[in-house]
């Protein structure tokens, strides 16, 4: 099994440590990982802003880079969801269909393809999980509070096996953080307010660290936490799963 590692554009440029943790983690789990150099972005920033047509080049570049892998794994629920859901705007060749089917968010891949839950990580902290919306309600990485049915969460399942992690209980367990791509700028007031409210919920629940499957949500929350000098650390789930004492 050959896995193509997709590192989203903003992680590549601004949060390389998340990419590094993802790669190291997959290698620890004995996955044969390849990283195609020509990759850029899934196209989501343009598409969610209403410029789907401007994202066609990015989509094609994505497929070109990843078409030969058995799986494509990325530390972003949002980007994985975009590939799966919105790559209907380019011609549905076998490669495109294949890439859409084989793209996985990291936790999803570990739990459902590798079928591993115990990674052997250690992280002795109180952790609040921010359930990023596209992973939760798009990829169904867990049950959401709106739906009625069996409760589950791949992220929680993995974290529960990490030695020392104490998961805190939030008042609103899956409310959006307010990032939303260009929404963060075009609806600045609401975006900031949503972020502040999420952070407060984590603080009130006694979390020391906020984690998520998506660095985009975390970048927004971290921006507020840093500006307001709040006692919270922000880490991508890959960084926690990759940590050992």
């Amino acid at each position: 099994m050959k896995v193509g590692l997709f590192i989203p554009c903003y992680i590549n440029q601004l949060y390389p440590q998340v990419g590094i943790a993802t790669l190291e983690l997959l290698e620890k789990l004995n996955v044969d990982v390849g990283y195609p150099y020509g990759q850029t972005c899934c196209g989501q920033p343009m598409a969610n802003s209403g410029y789907e047509n401007e994202s066609v080049g990015a989509c094609q570049n994505f497929v070109e880079n990843f078409k030969d892998f058995d799986y494509i794994v990325t530390p972003s629920g949002s980007c994985a969801y975009h590939v799966k859901k919105h790559y209907n705007i380019i011609e549905q060749t076998d490669d495109v269909v294949n890439v859409r089917n084989k793209t996985y968010e990291l936790c999803d891949f570990i739990v459902n393809i590798l079928k591993i839950k115990h990674i052997g990580a250690s992280f002795p902290h109180k952790v609040g999980v921010h359930k990023s919306c596209h992973g939760l309600r798009g990829l169904r990485l867990g049950s959401c509070s709106e739906n009625v049915g069996t409760e589950y969460s791949y992220i929680d399942e993995l974290l529960q096996e990490v030695s020392g992690v104490e998961l805190v209980t939030l008042t609103r367990k899956d409310e959006c953080c307010g990032f939303g791509g260009t929404f963060a700028v075009t609806e600045e007031a609401i975006s900031v307010k949503m972020g502040k409210d999420r952070i407060q919920d984590h603080l009130d629940s006694g979390a020391e660290v906020i984690t998520a499957t998506d660095t985009s949500c975390l970048m927004h929350l971290e921006g507020l936490i840093t500006r307001n000098k709040q006692p919270l650390k922000v880490l991508h789930i890959a960084e926690i799963l990759n940590s050992t004492i």
Binding site: I7, C9, N12, Q13, L14, Y15, P16, G19, L23, Y35, Y37, G38, Q39, T40, C41, G43, M46, A47, N48, S49, G50, Y51, N53, E54, S55, V56, G57, Q60, N61, H86, C133, H134, L136, R137, G138, C144, S145, E146, N147, V148, G149, D174, C176, G178, F179, G180, F183, E187, E188, A189, I190, S191, V192, K193, M194, G195, G223, L224, T226, R227
Partner: protein, 455 residues
Amino acid sequence: MTHSKAASIFNKDEKKVNWHDKALWFVRHKRDIAAHTVTGWEELRNLGHGIKAHTLSNLDTYLTQFEENALKNGVQVHWAKDGDEHNRIVHGILKEHNAKKVVKSKSMLTEECHLNPYLEADDIEVIDTDLGERIVQLAKEPPSHIVLPAIHKKKEEVDVLFQEHLGTKPCDGDPQYLTGEARKHLREKFIHADAAITGVNFAVADTGGIVVCTNEGNADMGAHLAPVHIACMGIEKIIPKQEHLGVFLRLLGRSATGQHITTYSSHFKKPREGAKMHIVIVDNGRTEQLSRPDFRASLHCIRCGACMNTCPIYRRSGGHSYDATIPGPIGSILSPGKDLKKHSTLPFASTLCGSCSDVCPVKIDIHSQLYKWRQIITKDTQQPFVKKTSMKMMGNIFAKPTKFEKVGKVARWSLRNLPKSMINSKPNVWGKERDLPLGPKESFDDWYKKRQKNE
């Protein structure tokens, strides 16, 4: 005004935002409790969706069947292409009965058609009898929510409003006292009304009957006392059979307020002895929405308001920020179909978090439709030059790996080396209240290449 502008004004009073958010979250929470007691809730939602989809695919047949049965029941049926025609028809019926005093129970359709000002222009008194609607009517405001019209009003504001208009005593906003006074005030109006107007929650094709749901009993107080009852409905209110009410009434109350059913679910079929009943069936843009495959499911809506209660943006921007008859997520997919230019910012008033679609009792893919409206809006309406060109630039950069690498390098360098005051200066809206990440020296690409070399 754009949604974001209105929202930023609403957000100047953070305490009020917190209060508004909590009030609506409380309703969402009650909805969760109620929904979670129902075995087969998700199947019920599937049925709601399926019955509505089936109905729309046979809409003309069911409308004809409904009319035929309603006529047999002794009800007069009218058809209105648009809001104006609807208003003219209602006005005509009132004229015919020489009705000067009208009591009206909740009807978003009559709001959409702006019926009240139309009738008031001819000296007809129209009293909204739902407490929340009466409050906003006295305040000369539109409802800010389709189920909780006065959810944006503090009880102290209601207190002052009632003192001014109903002559109540100051009461520190005591809801019990204020509701009691409203009951007395509106009881007078019910007793003396010449006609009652109601909305329609469901119109049943196979019986020709309509169902109206309220908690207060105001629709019934109006319709059973006045000599004339006019029920106004959009064409999408139709359902095929009476047994389908079993599905929709199970979904409606729970989704709306967390009640297992509204207090009164009144099934009107024939007019009462000596009284007249009229039904006005209105299109007003609905058949056009039906023609749009991507958006026709918005016509499934049963007006429960759950998408508003769950929407993190609605809760923090208030219903009025949408400047549309139906605010919130469902309004943001309905309104662009009526006036794309006017409502062009609404589909962007969302993070596409998807909570609306998952809470919707009839499974409308609201957030997917928001995404689709965005694609249409950027093509069909004037967009800011900066947005348009930056999107084009980004598209080009992401299509070409070499360009991406260069741009990334410059961006990282700037974040690392430029002073914070410059990075967070005015053109950077992000930086107003948020820090940007420190630009790392190495991108992941750089690190990976180095690693490969060292191996």
